[in-house]
């Protein structure tokens, strides 16, 4: 099938802010889907899922089967779709608020089950659509209308959380590195088992991290993907509360484990 025949766009007017990190994710995903279809996956066998928030609007902009679920629930919905029809490639888009706050139990358990779906987290480290409150990944001291003195909570590292839940595919990407992100998304969808990509993304309106990510993000690769030690070392390299720490992106961990059926 030619790229032009795919018609991945819809007529829906895009309402993301100009310069929003979501555009990079949308672009990378379209490229990944185009590659996937070229590799022989029928377009009709792809199902995308989302919850609520800026990230979740992505399903309206893609002419693919989609289920826009409730806040925090798209992983559970995606699991049901996959359990009902194993032929489908099921991909979830959700924000850090939906995945790590409202729906964290579903993430942890889906990872534990190793169900063959892909979760792409648009991690802008704040609730954007509700005007910028702190989430699980917002840095300590994050000032917002709900935390005028700054948040007193330390963030947790979602990558460590999924590692602790027995993940089989763990990656971090960045919306500013579209080509790299495309390769991560493609590898994640092709992974047999639960694949997890935390995508760092600036929120131009409430937490503009563009400069930080442009400066600190670097692409890493290795041949030692089944080493938990290596993975944790890479994950721990970035400490959000340390100004000078670098931010590695890439696949950190990939192993095979029986898939949940």
């Amino acid at each position: 099938m030619k790229k032009n025949d795919l018609k991945l766009e819809t007529n829906c007017v895009n309402t993301w802010c100009p310069g929003c990190g979501n555009f990079g994710i949308l672009m990378a995903f379209k490229q990944a889907i185009t590659s996937l279809v070229e590799k022989g996956i029928p377009k009709e066998n792809i199902v995308i899922n989302s919850g609520i928030g800026c990230a979740s609007k992505i399903v309206d902009y893609l002419n693919l089967n989609s289920f826009c679920s409730l806040h925090g629930r798209p992983i559970a919905t995606a699991e049901g779709i996959k359990i009902a029809n194993d032929k489908l490639k099921v991909i979830v888009f959700d924000g850090d608020g939906g995945t790590y706050n409202e729906g964290i139990s579903h993430l942890v358990h889906a990872v534990k089950r190793n169900i063959d779906i892909t979760v792409l987290v648009h991690d802008n480290r704040c609730f954007a659509l509700t005007t910028g409150q702190f989430t699980s990944t917002s840095p300590k001291g994050f000032k917002s209308k709900s935390t005028p003195e700054g948040s007193t909570e330390e963030p947790f590292d979602p990558l460590k959380l999924v590692m602790a839940s027995n993940a089989t595919f763990v990656a971090r990407g960045c919306s500013l590195r579209v080509a790299h992100l495309k390769s991560l998304i493609l590898a994640a969808i092709q992974h047999k088992g639960f694949s997890f990509v935390d995508i760092l993304q600036p929120c131009v309106s409430f937490f503009n991290t563009s400069e930080l990510y442009n400066k600190k993000v670097y692409e890493t690769s290795n041949n030692n993907l089944d080493s938990e030690r290596y993975a944790l070392k890479k994950i721990n390299e970035w400490q959000p509360n340390q100004k000078n720490s670098k931010i590695p992106i890439g696949i950190f961990y990939k192993v095979d484990r029986p898939i949940y059926k």
Partner: protein, 558 residues
């Protein structure tokens, strides 16, 4: 003429009183009797006090009697708690290694000593009492032996050995007659619900364990190969219903089951099922609430909540069946209706139906039709929410070449894409309301309201759900009318008003404290003359309904 016996068997949890009760029930069932078992147990694993009240009769009964003919006590507490219920001429069969009783018609069984001597497990003392009891009432050894062979596999020989000893030791004091009647299998309400849903084409059952709905999960999981379905336990009720909506979207008929607290969690997605127009059956098996309430006991307190569950203007069915056959039928029928109208349904039962055991007339299964739905096609551009006259849009599922199937929790256009403008928002809500009109019409064509007893009586009682059982008995005994609404949403107003024709005195009977169905009736202008409400976490018995009616009618005369 009805011949009937009530047998109560009890003991601490872990002594096997429920299993022993079921064996006794099966003995009678095999002899052609109808059986109804009420199981009473506490929220604990070992100890406490559990009992089964087994009602055996030659005509069908759906509730327990407070006076019992046979008391089988595996421990002393059973005797002390239930001796006042045993009729004067009733027979006590008890474990005399546990305690001693001075009473005529008391048969002590040295269960502990012999079971210990045989090196058998303590729980097998229950077989000693079953065998002693069987002999006492004149069951033949052959009948008991056949049952035990069928019921036990691993521990068959030791159980037969114990049974033989105690059967031989005891004397027959009565002779139970064999009844010529087609034998009905014994099924719990939960098992009947599972069978009904499977008959209609259930593909997937999702649940998180919660009493009293857990039996559906266990039964379906244990029979998933025969039934060709999948059973999935997930991390919580939020996941359960979200996943079930995912699988229904992918084309597989799905159902979930829970009790009040779990149902409360599911309501966010009940609203989603309505908005996204995804077929879903939710079984809400009530227990005494609010909150954790009295978890292993019954109530009818979730009616108001279930009727209004879900944020927004919700289009759904709610049906409250009153026995095993009705539960079976409506589980299947609701799956059918959910797929026909692409909307959620609630099957509202309670502990009294879910966990009681019934003589089940399986001919009801023949009345359940496999689901069908309006199928889409891809010749024109497929739109999941295409506007139609009935409000029902053609269905296709992901994986269909040429179709893009988009469903949405946000208000959406025909393609399933989010909208916010006033015209589209109203148009899509109107589409769902057109469906509701169709549902209302459909309900009036079903048998949504049932009448029992003397249909011409000007005195009528009104009961729903499990209260139908004892109320039916009352109506038949007192020659008055019983009206039972089965479908409560959409409310079958015409049928109800027809049922009320000629009624001059209407008394409502409900297992809750506020008279919740009474409020529903009031909203249709139906006036209740008096209410009989019970909310001590126990089911109604016909005797107490009769006493309450008596009191009401006496006061009226004054």
């Amino acid at each position: 003429m009805n011949t009937e016996y009530s047998i109560l068997i009890g003991g601490a949890a872990g002594l096997g009183s429920r299993r022993a009760g079921l064996l006794i029930a099966k003995l009678f069932s095999n002899l052609g009797y109808y059986v109804f078992i009420y199981d009473d147990y506490q929220s604990l694993i070992r100890g406490g006090h559990s009992f089964s009240n087994i009602r055996i009769s030659t005509s069908r009964k759906l509730s327990s009697c407070s006076k019992i003919d046979f008391l089988i006590a595996l421990d002393k507490r059973t005797w002390t708690e239930h001796q006042s219920e045993l009729k004067k001429e009733g027979i006590l069969v008890y474990n005399k290694d546990q305690f001693r009783v001075q009473r005529n018609q008391a048969i002590g069984i040295s269960a502990q000593t012999i079971v210990q001597d045989l090196g058998a497990r303590k729980i097998m003392e229950n077989i000693a009492l079953v065998a002693g009891f069987a002999k006492t009432i004149g069951v033949e050894w052959k009948t008991l032996k056949e049952l035990l062979i069928k019921e036990f596999n691993k521990s068959r020989n030791i159980n037969l050995q114990i049974a033989k000893i105690f059967f031989t030791q005891n004397k027959s004091l009565a002779k139970i007659k064999k009844i010529k009647r087609e034998k009905f299998p014994l099924l719990t309400g939960n098992e009947a619900i599972a069978q009904g849903a499977v008959k209609a084409g259930l593909g997937l059952y999702f649940a998180y364990p919660m009493t009293p709905a857990t039996g559906i999960l266990h039964y379906l999981a244990g029979h998933s190969k025969n039934f060709k379905i999948k059973t999935i336990q997930l991390e919580n009720e939020l996941a359960v219903i979200s996943a079930a909506l995912g699988s229904a979207y992918a084309g597989l008929p799905s159902m979930v089951g829970t009790s009040g607290g779990g149902f409360a969690l599911m309501t966010e997605s009940l609203s989603l099922a309505c908005q996204a127009e995804i077929p879903m059956v939710i079984v809400n098996s009530q227990r005494a609430a609010p909150a954790s309430g009295v978890p292993t006991y019954t109530a009818q307190g979730d009616l108001s909540f279930s009727l209004t569950a879900g944020h927004g203007d919700i289009v759904k069915f709610l049906v409250a069946p009153g026995d095993a056959e009705e539960s079976c039928y409506w589980a299947g029928k609701l799956l059918f209706l959910s797929w026909e109208y692409q909307t959620p349904s609630i099957l509202l039962v309670d502990k009294q139906i879910s966990e009681s055991t019934f003589s089940f007339d399986k001919r009801i299964l023949e009345k359940i039709k496999p689901i069908k739905y309006l199928k889409g096609d891809v010749r024109n551009q497929y739109m999941r929410y295409q506007y139609t006259k009935t409000g029902i849009s053609p269905l296709l599922f992901p994986g269909k070449r040429g179709a893009v199937v988009k469903v949405n929790s946000y208000e959406h256009n025909e393609n399933g894409i989010t909208i916010e403008d006033e015209i589209s928002a109203q148009k899509m809500q109107d589409k769902r309301l057109r469906k509701y009109k169709e549902m209302e019409k459909a309900v009036e064509k079903m048998r949504a309201v049932k009448i029992y007893g003397n249909k011409k009586s000007s005195r009528a009682i009104l009961a729903w759900g499990s209260t139908k059982g004892p109320a039916q008995e009352v109506a038949e005994d007192l020659n008055i009318k019983l009206i039972q609404p089965l479908v409560i949403q959409p409310f079958p107003e015409k049928q109800m008003k027809k049922a009320l024709e000629g009624v001059k005195n209407l008394i409502l009977i409900e297992g809750n404290a506020l008279g919740q169905l009474g409020s529903v009736l009031a909203s249709y202008g139906i006036k209740i003359d008096a209410k009989i409400l019970k909310y001590n976490a126990r089911p109604f018995m016909s005797e107490e309904i009769k006493r309450a009616l008596d009191k009401i009618w006496k006061n009226e005369k004054k």
